[in-house]
């Protein structure tokens, strides 16, 4: 007796659907991540620095600068996450200024000085900037604008 050949019924193809909710989650997460990363990279802020409060309406909104000098409460000077000796600061600022001039970009130096630090230390930093040929620096402070 011949055996019957059994063929399996072809399986139905599962319909592929686009999951919108996880997609939105991931897109939002990526946006947040890139915004946060770009903010941290641009600002060169040292979180150890506690800024003084200034409420005068003369201040402008925070803008990124080519060089941000952080002066900590313990006297350490950091630029771009690295500790820099005071005597090396004029050379560093001057070289950055030269690069900016070559590229035709405006050049700004922001000083973020800790509020507990002595003025003498801030004066040393500003003096170093002056030695590098800058007549003006930008002083960073925190606080709401007084109305």
């Amino acid at each position: 007796m011949r055996k019957a050949i059994h063929f399996e019924k072809a399986t139905e193809h599962e319909t592929l659907t686009l999951q919108v909710a996880p997609l939105v989650d991931i897109v939002l997460f990526l946006i947040c991540f890139f915004m946060l990363a770009s903010e941290l990279v641009r600002s060169q802020k040292d979180p150890a620095v506690e800024l003084p409060q200034m409420t005068s309406p003369q201040g402008a909104s925070e803008a990124p600068a080519e060089v941000t000098v952080n002066l900590r409460a313990d006297g350490a000077i950091t630029v771009d996450g690295r500790t820099v000796a005071l005597d090396l600061l004029p050379g560093l600022v001057a070289s950055q200024a030269a690069h900016a001039q070559q590229d035709g970009r405006p050049f700004r130096v922001v000083v973020r000085a800790d509020r507990r630090q002595r003025f003498a230390a801030l004066d040393d930093v500003m003096s170093a900037c002056r030695k590098a040929g800058l007549a003006q620096v930008v002083f960073r402070a925190t606080g709401e604008e007084r109305s």
């Binding site: 909710a21 946060l36 973020r112 002083f139």
Partner: protein
């Protein structure tokens, strides 16, 4: 008649992956929120060498108003030109500069190096709140940091 089948009980499952996504998104959002909350502001600040600051006032027609900040046992001694202001009263700087009201003149804040950045910033803030916006800072000259014997013209404010 059709009745809904009560036996169809769907199984409720905790979806871990979307939950982790949402938690991460919230975490990133909160971190960004704290960054944004501590808004910082920029103040363009001129700088004068101590000797230059004194020179600006030594001329027959001075081009700057000198605000002297001196550290005293009582607090921060403030003097504008020959006028002595109450100790630690930074708002008095704004009032005095408003009284002078010459926006064309520079205001030079000459600060004792022993003062803190916060104290100098408060003086700058008060000066910038006045009509005289051209504010710069300098270090109080070494000979001027000695405490004054009594009321009289400022050591670096008078003619030399």
């Amino acid at each position: 008649m059709k009745f809904v089948d009560d036996d169809d009980t769907s199984v409720i499952q905790l979806q871990i992956i979307p939950m982790v996504d949402v938690v991460f998104t919230l975490l990133a959002f909160l971190v960004m929120g704290t960054q944004i909350r501590a808004l910082e502001r920029d103040f363009a600040m001129g700088y004068r060498e101590a000797a230059l600051a004194r020179g600006a006032l030594a001329q027959d027609f001075p081009t700057a108003v000198l605000v002297e900040l001196r550290r005293t046992p009582e607090g921060v001694g403030i003097r504008i030109g020959q006028a002595r202001l109450p100790t630690d009263q930074f708002d008095a700087i704004c009032a005095k500069l408003t009284e002078i009201n010459m926006p064309g003149l520079d205001v030079v804040i000459s600060a004792d190096p022993a003062l803190t950045v916060d104290q100098v910033a408060r003086a700058m803030d008060a000066a910038l709140a006045s009509p005289m916006k051209k504010v710069s800072v300098s270090r109080l000259a070494a000979e001027s940091t000695k405490p004054a014997a009594g009321p009289g013209p400022a050591a670096s404010g008078g003619k030399t």
